[in-house]
Subunit: 396 residues, 2 copies
């Protein structure tokens, strides 16, 4: 049977995070490996009430096949929120509802990428995007992330040399690094991309989850005609609905709708109606504030633990939002080796390797704070710090 598989499926990296998550399910293991929102914060009662209303009132309608673009009411809500949150003018017809923003990535790959097309990704980069795009066999062009965003010198060089079609970014509280592009970095990136003719994808699942600092403008502010936005309700409401969206310029949107139709006809209109009812009946900003407060405290507990228990030679980011801290061991050490030792001490994280397309045995690691309460964070970071110290002593 192997001879029957397509070439493209051989290119897709296996999610080795899935394997790690199995370890994380053992009792007594403190897991910083997850990438999940905190389930204690899901608005369960409110959604159940919204579902009751929708099914009592419009069951027959939402059970039928629906349009591929998605619910007009839900898209109107998304458009209004872009205006109120970010000052962006987005028309309802510029929005396509997808099964999470993961499907947005797949549809964009389908519609834009020929085999061998240049695609700039962040290094380290979001694994789900690497997986989704891999199926369309682009030439990945990694540009390093630095503290204030993309490394603009490398970016300019890559744009000039490789004439890429697309630049994929997660400018707010990036997964895995937790880095946020500064305002100045966004301007510089936009400037460089403008001249090149490339399209820029701004994937923003975490933008709502800012617990400190000031928001910077969306790339669409700088590149209104050539920025594609990806959004999601996964982090602000619930991931299990699998509801996200793409905002794209009209000619591209026409193609995306065709691709959506071919992919699964449309996203469940029942799910869309329940989400819209929930959003209409509840104060989403207040709910998001609750998540921000919780994650902010958890992040603070993690950073405090790192200051106290990590060796000085281990560096880490200081996120202003989102769900992840990114740490790096001293040169010469591999996070994979640390992982082996840490598992034995019942504490796990994700070694950085899967977030790179062409590096292995990196010294970086992703450490999640959204799923663990403050006292467990304190205990787990102390445990992890002790393993790091032992590893450094033994190799030094």
């Amino acid at each position: 049977m192997d001879s029957l598989f397509s070439d493209r499926i051989a290119d897709v990296p296996r999610s080795f995070i899935r394997e790690i998550l199995k370890t994380a399910l053992q009792p007594n293991v403190i897991s910083f490996a997850g990438g999940l929102p905190n389930r204690d914060l899901f608005p369960v009662k409110e959604i159940a009430e919204a579902a009751r209303k929708v099914l009592d009132r419009e069951g027959r309608d939402v059970f039928q096949y629906g349009n591929s673009e998605g619910s007009v009411k839900l898209r109107e809500f998304i458009a209004r929120r872009y205006e109120s949150r970010l000052g962006l003018q987005v028309a309802v017809d510029d929005i396509l509802i997808t099964n999470g923003s993961q499907q947005g990535l797949d549809l964009l790959g389908k519609v834009l990428l020929n085999e061998g097309d240049g695609l700039i990704i962040e290094e380290p980069g979001y694994l789900g995007a690497i997986q989704a795009f891999s199926l369309y066999r682009p030439r990945f062009l990694p540009v390093p992330l630095v503290q204030e965003g993309l490394d603009t010198a490398v970016l300019k060089q890559t744009l000039a040399q490789s004439r890429p079609k697309l630049l994929y970014t997660v400018p707010n509280f990036q997964n895995p690094s937790g880095i946020t592009y500064s305002r100045g970095n966004r301007q510089a990136v936009a400037e460089a991309v403008r001249e090149s003719g490339a399209l820029l994808i701004e994937d923003d699942p975490y933008g709502d989850l800012r617990f400190s600092g000031e928001p910077a403008p969306s790339f669409r502010t700088y590149l209104p005609q050539t920025t594609i936005l990806l959004g999601s309700f996964s982090k602000s409401v619930v991931p299990g609905f699998r509801l996200g969206w793409i905002v794209a310029p009209r000619p591209l949107m026409d193609k995306l709708v065709i691709a959506k139709q071919a992919a699964d006809l449309h996203t469940s209109h029942m799910i869309q109606a329940i989400m819209h009812q929930y959003l209409a009946d509840n104060d989403i900003d207040q709910h998001i504030q609750t998540i921000r407060d919780a994650y902010g405290k958890q992040c603070a507990a993690m950073l405090a633990g790192m200051e106290r228990h990590f060796p000085n030679s281990v560096t880490h980011t200081r996120p202003e939002g989102g769900m992840f801290v990114w740490a790096e061991l001293p040169r010469g050490l591999a996070a994979l080796d640390l992982f082996e030792l840490a598992v034995k001490e019942n504490v796990v994280f994700v070694p950085g390797d899967p977030f790179y397309v062409n590096k292995s045995r990196t010294r970086a690691m992703r450490i999640n704070f959204s799923c663990v309460d403050e006292s467990t964070i304190a205990a787990g970071i102390e445990r992890l710090g002790n393993v790091m110290k032992r590893m450094i002593e033994q190799t030094g």
Copy 2:
């Protein structure tokens, strides 16, 4: 922006059915153009009750990210039903839950098709499959449908000459033709395919909807190792959930799960849980019998109307289930021209052209009976018959 689009997206046929369906929404128009299940038969109250139970009991669980393969309970139900309905042994791990069987087509294209690979499709063929597969740029190899199934002479010739990788079939009450493969035809097709090394896809959205005649065995009976099954709850329960599944041999399933993960991580577990609860609490066979009875009466009314009002030179199929009759005008006439005349008389159907990959101005048409009540069918078929007679007189 046009220069940025992928080559593959240019290959996808636009759904010209969507345009027709807009016409069909005018008041006074009798529409046989739809492809929808009858919404009056949706079990609205029962699903609302199932949703209430799931959300009261396990809201937090089903709102979190879940596994890519899908709900174990739902897959167990599907496996048991294959055994009871068709005598097929299907393991839970052989089943992947998808967003309708449309997504199954997309995932199979992703995992199996390289550009230029040979893919046998039925002629006329299911438009959604042609759209989904087009994105992977196969070489479509149409094999005509005849009264008892695939034309086995052409099939053998195509298998020998073109060494295709895949054969895509809808053996029960095919969309658009309403044709069902006979037992003998299935055996002959299986025999021919066995030697060739090709995989066979059996897409069976309508199999439950038999209102006359005797069921014939699944292709998996003849080709247990090389048949892929696609199933769906869209026609037996509700389409708006977007719930379907793939049954595939294990090595292929491993690849499909990777592709599913890249496509959208997983299908909503809330939706899966509600469907499972509905199936656990209700007698699905009794519900399906209700649908069969209704569609059987509607089909009988349509065939009676055709006997009475269609010119003798117009031929049509006599389906034993499903939702469609396929009719053909006499040679020299085009269904597209009939459509233009019929619209003026406020009756519409789907001209056959979109169901062919390389033919236009065909004389065939798809006529749907699932969405229209018996008296409206009688009136609409009389109207359509009169337009046909006028057209034939004028051209004769």
